[in-house]
Amino acid sequence: MSGLTARHTGPGPAAGAEDGTAARVVDAAKVYGTGDAAVRALDGVTVGFPAGRFTAIMGPSGSGKSTLMHCAAGLDSLSSGSAWIGGTELGTLGDRQLTLLRRERIGFVFQAFNLVPTLTVAENVTLPLDLAGRRPDAEWIDALIDVVGLRDRLRHRPSELSGGQQQRVAVARALAGRPEVVFADEPTGNLDSRSGGEVLALLGRAVHDMGRTVVMVTHDPVAAAHADEVVFLADGRLVDMMTAPTAGRVLDRMKAFDTKAFDGRPAGGGGTSS
């Protein structure tokens, strides 16, 4: 792995904003619907995701954590406030520029349907590079394949892989272009604990061995415990942060939300559940 660490060049943490964040949102608000039916999925969130760190976004269902990720990653637009990737403000970009930004500077791992079924494992890994017409760095890709442990599956189709293997391919794809930040949306949501653990370990190594930045949305305290820090969302607001989390501490913090919910604060943000 030292090879990987040593080789990390190109847009990395150094290319981030002056405050050392790879991605951040400022006063982010997202409103769905209008008038009485208006739902504030994000309500004035300001948060930065530090470069070279593994951050988890946690919160109960409907807390706005997926919306936050989508807006920070340029998949969705904010109603007000601003979202930045490095020094670029996403609100100023058109669809085409956003698309190019996503494929060149961001990596994605979704909960499911991560892979294009008609492409082989190898082709899925290099898909963003192929779409950009960039020549993949053969050594880097080669090393990635070994890290995710899929060398013997390169010519397989996604339907021939297990769920865990599919997610590992997705992680490899997210890292293939050495993006400034990788967003992972419930990457272990569909996996058993062993496969999930492998995927989380991979994400951790991407940060600690390869110097990448990872932002992960999850509702699982065990998954969140793999992160360097955790930000907690509730009702579209940033309510807490935690450094060096453990599953137990995260779980305790989450329990507090449940109690609150029972106190009569309904979970808002319909349509934003992950």
Partner: protein, 875 residues
């Protein structure tokens, strides 16, 4: 959802339960339809277009038939009896000349005898022949119909033409023309022009007439002259007429009058009622044409509907596949197989009823539109109310419903078979391609079909065998589609992948995803393209055959040919060849005229010519015997025909002419190459006693040594101005002009096939729309990881192109093969040429691919507008 659950749980047999269940199926079906209107838009349009085309054809056919019927009945209403020659000689087989039978003229002396028959109110001899009007600018009037000249009849009621301007012809050289001809020829009262009968006659227009109340009898041009002129120019000798028309006095029926008149007629003459005569005229001038026209349109409506069947079947198959989970849920909740099947059929029925009803209305609209359009584009079809017969509505209705419900039947059965556990499984598209069984059945059918087609074409020729083989081959193509589609898409899509990078490669693989679906989509286009290719090959082969005939047969320098349209054109004056022969530049000049006679009982065309001169200007191949001295006792026969009829040089052969005379001829010569000369040659002297109105269809001219083609052509052109300035053509120009009709015909066919191809393209577009819907998540993923909208659009469009290319290539292959088979199977003598025109076929391929691009346009746009987040979140 409650109702089907309950009803499904009720034991079958209870009447109320089964009607409740039926209602539930209907309700679910209709709800499905409402929820997925867009998916059925393609089906709707396909059925609508096919039914509208069919209904339009039938309504228009009925309307035109009724209008023509009324036109002829009105125009001939004053004629109660027609007297004519009883013997008719009709030539069959290929070659130029009159399609109708030829009859002996009637002596005008009979008029007096008929006038004495009790009950006769009026009698008039009718002389009818060919007379081509020359326009004000000196060229012959173009027409798609016959060119008729005759005597102007003054007897009231016996003349179908009504004078509307000027006066009837009184002096020699005065004529009345019908209004349509006057307008198109730029002729006005007082104008002097030529009437070619076919000898040029100087005439003055003194009157304008209408046929009944129309400007003309269809496309026919008419010139009415004095009886003396008509006898002189149109009949072989004075004192003869084509027919005699008789009008009855009050209280005498047509039947009675006809019987009475018949009694005073000598042998070889007959009397028929005016109604029968009118019907016969209508049949020969418009009825036969209308039958061919409507049959042709119906056939193409059929092709369009066949193509639609594939599109519709495909739509339902995809929709059912996409709804597997939904149907499985219904089954799990207790819906019976029949209820699930019923809900799909209810959906199909609703689409069928709506689309067919709209199609019927559309068809009536098309007929009304065409009725208005025809006069505008130069087809003066008679006016008349739109005739909407029950049959013209019932047949398209039945066909539309059958096509729609029939296409949906097998997908509906499949829907009914959905296992309840499928609700719990990941819904997946059918990725199976050709099973071994399918491949085996397809291959066997293909081998049998091709063998029969080739057998019928090469060794025979045997048209029915070839036709059966062709149907089998088509069936094999359809069956083998899914087997072939994987390979074909891989091969055809390879350049796309190479040129368009990952976008092209994704497009190609998407086309490979469901071989059955790709094949079904492409098959619709394949059928359309195959028919286009068959006609393209057929047309090119006919042209090649004509070229070859002219090339081998024509040994002169230039040719003058008569208009080739139908029975139209008066032909060329027999004096033309003689006039040209006198030019100092001309070595030889020979005219070819047309005659008919029964040879040993079978009607045959004779080429009336100077056989000795002909042999110098046309290459007749090897000649046994001598053509130099046929005289009035010998004829010459082409070798193929002679072999067929067991004739040889020196054989005796009896000829029966239209005038009823029978003459024994001797075969003076047998020549190898029929070509332009035709199968029988007879000298002008031998034909003279039996002629009616002589005309030549071709004059072949040979220049003296040292005269350039340009010089000679100029001299001949100058010399023939007196004959209405027919075109003087070089050998290649002559070949090209002979083939002009083929191009016109091909253009019509292409226009008719455009509908089938359009429906096929709608099918591609529809399949793509459904596929885009199915791949929503995947498209969202691609967009998320960096596929631009442009790349996504290109991906969908290229998939469409690959599918279209598959269908087009298959259609070209199949069409070329069947075209070859058809050419060979219809070429009895084995002298026809087969040609594969590379350029038109390349154009077909390009158009097919471009059309694929067009078909993918809308689905691509819709796919690109997809909201990424919603795509990712779609369950």
């Amino acid at each position: 959802m409650n109702s089907p659950t309950r009803a499904g749980g009720t034991p079958a047999g209870s009447r109320s339960a089964s009607t409740g269940a039926g209602r539930a199926s209907l309700r679910i079906g209709l709800a499905g339809l409402r929820a997925h209107k867009r998916r059925f838009a393609g089906t709707f349009v396909a059925v609508f277009l096919g039914v509208a085309f069919l209904a339009g054809t039938m309504v228009m056919g009925d309307t035109l038939r009724a209008s023509f019927g009324k036109l002829f009945a009105d125009a001939n209403s004053g004629t109660d009896t027609v007297v004519r020659g009883a013997d008719e000689v009709t030539a069959s087989g290929p070659g130029p000349g009159p399609g109708q039978g030829t009859r002996e003229p009637v002596p005008t002396g009979l008029v007096d005898a008929i006038r004495k028959v009790p009950g006769v109110a009026a009698v008039a001899p009718v002389i009818e022949g060919a007379g081509e009007l020359v326009k004000a600018d000196g060229k012959s009037l173009d027409t798609r119909g016959p060119t008729v000249a005759g005597n102007w009849i003054d007897e009231p009621g016996l003349n179908p033409y009504k004078l509307v301007e000027g006066h009837a012809p009184k002096a020699p050289g005065e004529i009345v023309v019908n209004r349509d001809a006057a307008r198109r020829g730029g002729l006005e009262i007082g104008d002097r022009t030529l009437l070619r009968t076919p000898d040029p006659v100087h005439v003055t227009v003194v009157g304008v007439a209408t046929f009944g109340n129309e400007d003309g009898e269809g496309q026919t041009t008419y010139a009415g002259m004095t009886r003396a002129d008509a006898e002189r120019y149109l009949m072989p000798k004075p004192g003869e007429a084509t027919t005699i028309k008789v009008r009855a006095g009050p209280g005498i029926s047509q039947q009675q009058l006809t019987e009475r008149v018949a009694k005073v007629l000598p042998a070889h003459y007959e009397a028929i009622t005016g109604t029968q005569a009118s019907d016969e005229t209508q049949e020969s001038t418009s009825g036969a044409f209308l039958d061919i026209f409507t049959t042709l349109l119906t056939v193409f409506a059929g092709i369009a509907l066949l193509v639609a069947t594939f599109s519709i079947h495909n739509t339902f198959a995809i929709v059912v596949a996409q709804r597997t989970r939904e149907n499985a849920l219904l089954r799990a909740l207790g819906a019976t197989r029949r209820q699930v099947l019923g809900s799909t059929m209810a959906e199909a029925a609703a689409v069928a009823v709506l689309a067919t009803a709209a199609g019927l209305l559309g068809g009536i609209g098309i007929a009304a539109g065409l009725q208005a359009l025809f006069p505008a584009v130069g087809f003066p079809f008679p006016k008349g109310a739109l005739q909407i017969h029950v049959l013209a509505l019932a047949v398209p209705l039945a066909v539309g419903l059958l096509v729609c419900l029939g296409s949906a039947a097998s997908p509906a059965v499949r829907a009914g078979r959905t296992a309840p556990v499928a609700a719990l499984r990941e819904s997946a598209t059918d990725t199976s391609g050709g099973s071994r069984r399918r491949a085996a059945i397809g291959l066997c059918t293909a081998v049998a079909g091709v063998a029969m087609t080739v057998g019928g074409a090469a060794a025979g020729p045997n048209l029915p065998l070839t036709a059966l083989g062709a149907v089998l081959t088509l069936a094999a193509f359809v069956v083998l589609g899914p087997v072939a589609s994987s390979v074909a898409v891989r091969v055809l899509g390879a350049p796309v992948g190479r040129l368009r990078g990952v976008t092209g490669s994704l497009a190609r693989r998407n086309a490979l995803r469901s071989p059955k679906r790709t094949a079904a989509t492409a098959t619709a286009l394949m059928i359309g393209v195959a028919v286009v290719s068959v006609f393209t090959v057929l047309g090119a082969s006919m042209k090649a055959t004509l070229n070859q005939t002219v090339d081998r047969s024509f040994a002169g320098d230039v040719a003058i040919s008569a208009q080739v349209y139908g029975a139209g054109g008066a032909g060329l004056s027999p004096q033309l060849a003689t006039t040209v022969a006198e030019l100092p530049e001309v070595q030889d000049s020979v005219g070819l005229g047309v005659g008919v006679a029964e040879v040993d009982g079978a009607g045959r065309r004779l080429t009336v010519t100077d056989p000795a001169a002909l042999s110098r200007l046309l290459d007749l191949g090897k000649v046994q015997g001598s053509l130099a001295h046929l005289g009035t006792t010998q004829i010459a026969v082409a070798k193929d025909e002679a072999d067929k009829r067991g004739l040889a040089a020196g054989s005796r052969v009896p000829l029966t002419f239209a005038d009823g005379t029978r003459v024994d001829f001797t075969v003076g010569a047998v020549y190898d190459q029929a070509g332009l000369a035709g199968n029988y040659l007879i000298s002008r002297a031998a034909w003279e006693p039996h002629r009616v109105q002589d005309k030549d269809t071709l004059v072949a001219i040979d220049f003296r040594d040292g005269v350039s083609t340009a010089q000679g052509k100029a001299a001949v052109t100058e010399a023939v101005t007196a004959f209405g300035s027919p075109d003087v053509q070089t050998k290649s120009e002559y070949a090209t002009s002979s083939a002009a009709g083929i191009d016109t015909f091909l253009t019509l066919i292409y226009a008719l096939l455009a509908l089938a191809v359009l429906i096929a393209l709608l099918g591609i577009a529809n399949t793509l729309t459904l596929a885009v819907h199915e791949r929503t998540r995947e498209l969202g993923l691609l967009r998320a990881v960096g596929q631009t909208r442009g790349q996504l659009r290109a991906m969908v469009r290229w998939e469409s192109v690959v599918v279209a290319a598959f269908g087009t290539a298959g259609g070209l292959g199949l069409g070329t093969f069947l075209g070859w088979a058809l050419v060979k199977a219809t070429d009895g003598s084995g002298t026809g040429a087969f040609a594969v025109p590379p350029l038109p076929l390349a154009v077909v391929l390009l158009v097919g691919v471009a059309a694929g691009m067009l078909a993918g346009w809308r689905p691509a746009r819709r796919a690109a507008r997809l909201d990424i987040l919603r795509a990712i979140a779609t369950e």
